[in-house]
């Protein structure tokens, strides 16, 4: 199976999520990013490569430094996806509410019959 390279793959990993959060405020030098993590520089480079392939960051050269810049537009796809689940669960809870109201009515009926 070909490696998934979409926004969902990009944010599935906690280290990559942290990298996005770090560079969300301002572009950061790759070394500076790596300093925030316990894992090796190589591991961070690989995560940044994946983020690039997923379209979430771009790496720009400035002299001898390489800076990582965030591209947040893609995250819109995620919130759209999540929103559908939110709508789905809201409808389920509406259904549960109706069901519980109905149950109560039935119970009340049963009680009044007994009396």
């Amino acid at each position: 199976m070909a490696a998934r390279r979409d926004v969902f793959q990009a944010i599935a990993d906690p280290t990559r999520r942290k990298i996005i959060n770090l560079v969300a405020g301002q572009p950061m030098n790759l070394n500076a990013i790596a300093e925030n993590f316990e894992v090796s520089r190589q591991a961070i480079s690989l995560h940044i490569k994946i983020l690039r392939e997923c379209g979430l960051v771009v790496v720009k050269k400035q002299g001898r430094d390489r800076y990582c810049e965030v591209r947040l537009e893609k995250l819109g796809e995620v919130s759209e996806w999540i929103e559908q689940y939110r709508a789905f669960w809201n409808r389920k809870l509406d259904s549960l509410e109706l069901f519980l109201a109905d149950q109560k009515k039935h119970k009340a009926k049963r009680k009044s019959k007994k009396m």
Binding site: A2, R4, I11, W81, I82, S95, L96, E97
Partner: protein
């Protein structure tokens, strides 16, 4: 990026025992949730059901109960047969007399969709409404 997690809270005009029964009793679940062959609020219990945006676009949901605290908390995993990814749905109940607050949390949704077109976002839009809402209403108004 906290919005990957769905958290919904809803207050019901029913005691906690009644809400717990509604989310764990197979016959009651059938009336508002999904029609399962069996359900047990026991860690390790596995269940599956079919659901999707349209009758010809159904996905087999595979779930396993991972956490049970009677009348307080129920968690199960939630994934789709034949697709990568896994998520977790938690129901938490907070009873107060004849009122119950239900907090629903769904984590890990972002692990699902990928390059597979069947799973494209648009395919999921609106579809659930038809199945759940309409059928439940019909049932209640009989």
């Amino acid at each position: 990026m906290k919005n990957e997690i769905i958290v919904l809270e809803r207050q019901f005009d029913a005691p906690v025992s009644m809400v717990w029964k509604a989310i764990t009793d197979r016959d009651e679940m059938k009336k508002w949730y999904f029609d399962l062959a069996e359900f047990k609020a026991e860690v390790g219990f596995r269940f599956q059901f079919s659901g999707g945006p349209a009758p010809d676009r159904q996905f087999v949901h595979l779930c396993e109960v991972t956490e049970v605290e009677p009348e307080q908390k129920l968690t199960y995993s939630w994934r789709y047969e034949g697709y990568p990814g896994n998520s977790f749905v938690t129901f938490e109940l907070f009873g107060k007399g004849n009122q119950t607050t239900l907090r629903l949390t769904h984590k890990g949704i972002e692990t699902f969709p990928g390059e597979n077109a069947d799973f494209a976002i648009q395919n999921f839009r609106d579809g659930w409404n038809e199945i759940i809402h309409t059928s439940l209403r019909n049932h209640l108004e009989k």
